[in-house]
Symmetry: C2
Subunit: 411 residues, 2 copies
């Protein structure tokens, strides 16, 4: 327990989500109100902004615009694809971070990101501890992939899941209008964990779910896929399929990386998996539309989950509260207290328990045919997509946060 | 002027839109309240439902569910890809339609669709006139393509435009987070008219527009495309491009149908244009993401324009009012009375003036560099995307209209 006083630095890393800005907004606004926080800075482009002293001064921002971050997708303070080495092997970056922390009197450090970012957080925290520099380091999680261990779910997942389930329901309605057979394939993100793809099952509660769902957790068979599709089309005429970009054959090879399917330039087919499955479906004689949801699923703030936004905001707030109360080397995790009514609480979880592990969809939540989710998944995921946020609009379009981004530097 | 009394039949045709159900809802609800309408039927799957007497009885539906059609995308009563022949050459279908109209005492017929549907409407109206069978026939327009002549704009366009502008703004935010160059390409529908693609410029009013826009109206040059992209990336690091599926080279050949770009199966690349442009951009050494908006742009009811929904509903209502007042062989068109404040009125336009013509984006609304829209387009299109509709939700997902679809048949 180290009760410290000094500046707080926040940074964002990893792929963006619809609500990563809601998380950092919660943290920034909470930090601005804490007596022991003497200044609030954001490092631009993740840890790189710390290394290069590229800071913006949050005290110069309007409070309304910080709140507007709740409905602004992507990482307002940039991101970075830079991985710190182990400090036992090469501590140059860590010594530089320590130097900057000392220079700016940084006593609170918050890193907002996914798996790799939690690893970065853990390493920085342990290095500072070793060097005897008091700083409380807390990870604020985000990932649409929902694959962080130790937390009930991840900020960002609920909004992506809501977008996927909504889009699938709408596409299903679009598909049924003609009397001829039609197969629609939605390709969804997730290399190893099928959480996002599984969310395509949620719209079944309103009657518009996916007919077939293929997750990376279940070995993929093209023969079974063909017979699955044929059976659905023969029964229902249309077949709506949700497929993860990360489905693999039994030998572990990604379906989307099948070398025989590359185009004339040697590139993999655009759309990877959905392009390959579309060709397969067309060779069966059925009309097929293949849609790769691509980045739309991680930036569609116009279809975000209010639950996800509010929880993300709260996780940022709690990170500050935990740090000010003397905790370090923790990630803010969600613990589900009850499901009916749905209720969670934020807890601080040891970063060492989270970094470099990956949570996948439990096999017992997948039906024996490997192509559907059962009620356990629905019970788990449905609460996460509840509620429509109030959005600030301008000329019929979303009005995102307008930040001044005033640079802060100590010479 | 024929003031008639009898049954009204509605049908939907062509590709679905976000608001075609709003149009038919306006018509159905208005017809239910008209004394001279003795019964309200919907033919399933367009004109085919008339030919096969496949009707549903709208008087059996709950009024709330008819109103819920305002936020239900796609064609609730199905569609059809069937084109009537000219009756001078083959009048078999027309004789059958006349037989059905007589049997069901149909005195009002409403066809809700695009260009081809207006042509169908016109032919039926003229045939009935020739045969001396009194029936008032009115077309209710829809098309996201916005390419019908004689009307200021088409129901369905505003919602698709709002979805495109919103999605582009969100994707733009997603693109800027890293410090490395990135090109994002959104492929948008429209084979000959660039209205939808042009809507990608609208988010510039909030600061998040497209950097480059390529419409079918302007001959496409791959060399110019490359130099355009290079200039934007060198200046701004990221480049967001909106491209119509229908862009053509100066010789009239579709860019998306370039035979050298087919895959190993001989299929055109998935995503057509955006796949080809993505490969070009990658060969320039830039990272590129290509996203085909596909059917999402025509079914995203969760991002519809309230203005579009209300106008569509009104166009259906006005169709009934015009028919009951004795008009026939007309399409309901929008006439813009003023732009500030935005105000339109519904007028009846001769069907013969609409069928088989196509309205494209005026060349004087496109900037001299051929890759942007000027303020004339913004002034025209911005009013059409205003307002967020109230949507009925269930479990965090859209709750679409629940229709009983009770069949109606006279034996």
């Amino acid at each position: 327990m180290k009760n410290l006083k000094g500046r707080a630095v926040f940074a964002q890393s990893g792929g963006p989500t619809t609500v990563i800005n809601a998380s950092i907004a919660g943290g920034l606004i909470e930090a601005l109100g804490q007596d022991s926080v003497t200044g609030v800075l954001c490092a631009l482009n993740g840890i790189k902004g710390v290394l290069t002293e590229n800071f913006v001064d949050i005290e110069k921002e309007e409070l309304d615009e910080l709140y507007a971050l709740k409905n602004t997708p992507a990482s307002a303070f940039g991101s970075v694809r830079y991985k710190l080495k182990d400090f036992e092997k090469d501590d140059a970056d860590y010594r530089r971070i320590l130097e900057v922390f000392k220079k700016y009197d940084v006593r609170f450090f918050f890193y907002n990101g996914g798996n790799d970012s939690m690893d970065t957080c853990d390493k920085i925290s342990r290095f500072m501890e070793k060097e005897g520099y008091p700083v409380n380091v807390i990870g604020i999680p985000k990932t649409i992939d929902n694959d962080l261990v130790g937390t009930d779910h991840c900020p960002g997942y609920g909004s992506a899941a809501k977008y996927i389930a909504t889009t699938l329901a709408e596409a299903r309605l679009d598909a049924v209008i003609y009397e001829s057979p039609l197969v629609i394939i939605l390709e969804i993100m997730g290399r190893n964990a099928g959480w996002l793809t599984a969310s395509a099952s949620l719209s079944q509660v309103t009657g518009y779910g996916a007919d077939l769902i293929y997750l990376p957790e279940v070995p993929f068979s093209m023969d079974k896929f063909c017979s699955d599709v044929k059976a659905v089309v023969e029964k229902n005429r249309i077949c709506v399929i949700a497929v993860s970009e990360g489905i693999k054959y039994a030998d572990g090879k990604y379906v989307g990386e099948d070398a025989s399917q590359t185009d004339v330039f040697g590139h993999s087919s655009l759309g990877g998996v959905c392009g390959i499955l579309k060709n397969t479906v067309k060779s069966m004689g059925f009309k097929c539309k293949a849609i790769e949801l691509n980045i739309l699923q991680r930036c569609a703030a116009h279809c975000a989950s209010k639950t996800d936004i509010e929880e993300s905001f709260e996780s940022g707030r709690q990170a500050v509260i935990h740090a000010v109360n003397g905790e370090t080397d923790k990630m803010i995790a969600f613990k589900r207290i009850s499901n009916n009514p749905y209720k969670i609480e934020c807890v601080g979880l040891d970063l060492s328990k989270i970094a470099n592990a990956e949570k996948t969809v439990p096999l017992e939540w997948i039906t024996p045919d490997g192509a559907h989710l059962n009620e356990n998944f629905t019970k788990y995921a449905l609460p996460l997509i509840q509620g429509e946020p109030e959005r600030r609009m301008e000329n019929g379009l979303p009005s995102f946060a307008k930040l001044k981004m005033v640079k802060f530097k100590i010479d």
